[in-house]
Subunit: 183 residues, 2 copies
């Protein structure tokens, strides 16, 4: 996997893909599916996300303060739903769903080899966790799978149906004000 500058996290998350979140506690890795997340700040990259006590990953995230956001593509769609439909309390999800954990560098939570991108994150603000289950994460490292042929991500319509990425419309020439963001 190739490293992408961490300042480029918004290129991956602003489009709003459904993502996986991995955690690891006491050597036990887990995966959840997450649809409620956003970029908060470009650089240093801050990410807001909703992970609640109803998620098994919640306690690991609170205890360790570390996670990986992994972005799946359309070929993993059934796993996206099925992983969201069972609990890490009962299921070892990497094994059950045939996903390959790989060691991250800055956090104990594993990368998911089959995903197109993995973002290593640490919790940086927990002030809104009790009230809204909102964690604020800082991204520390991004690895992307540049060789992957299937690159279309999924956008959850909230009910188990997903919009798959279609065409790309390139209006970069018009985007004068934000041009400093382009690389």
């Amino acid at each position: 996997m190739k490293e992408l500058p961490v300042s480029q996290a918004y290129r991956l998350l602003e489009p709003g893909p459904i993502v996986f979140v991995t955690t690891s506690q006491n050597g036990k890795p887990n995966i959840m599916t997450m649809g409620f997340h956003m970029m908060i700040q470009h650089d240093p990259p801050l990410i807001g996300c909703i992970i609640g006590p109803w998620d098994h990953s919640y306690s690991a995230l609170r205890a360790t303060g570390e996670c990986v956001i992994a972005i799946p593509t359309v070929d993993l769609a059934e796993k996206v739903v099925d992983i969201g439909n069972c609990s890490g309390e009962a299921v070892e999800k990497f094994e059950r769903f045939g996903l390959t954990p790989q060691p991250a560098r800055d956090v104990a939570a594993p990368l998911i080899k089959e995903c197109i991108a993995n973002i290593e994150c640490r919790v940086t603000d927990t002030r809104l966790v009790d009230e809204y289950s909102m964690f604020i994460l800082e991204a520390y490292r991004i690895r992307v799978n540049a060789d992957r042929k299937e690159r279309r991500t999924l956008h959850h319509r909230g009910d188990g149906s997903f919009t798959v990425d279609g065409d790309v419309l390139d209006l970069r020439e018009r985007m004068v004000k934000w041009r400093h963001l382009q690389r």
Copy 2:
């Protein structure tokens, strides 16, 4: 425009479309483009979004506590970029960009007739505004344009290019755990 139950806001926002935000202060309406937003809670629907002092809409939003989130489709792509590239301080954007303001019911900010959906919102929590420019909004009313033929939304890749909605993948049958969300 047809009314949709406000509890369905997540159906519109969880997929992560680029959106417009309208405000109105002292009878002067404005529009901005916004890419950093997320659902926080299904029902009552709470939305997190990043609107900073660098946005002309920021002061109107702070002063009035009201806005409308309007969702454009692909035919409005150039307006999405151009509206993000100029300031309401210098430009009357509804007029300049040929968009039609329509009165909302619960807020002073206008709906945008040309958009596929309009969500009337009030600011409910400003605790993270100073540090992260993050507003927490509650949605009060949704109007959708059910007659519109073009329904494909845009996902901002952060650099002025956009992924257009492609096919829909229906995995609702697999989504056992979240079935109570389906209507």
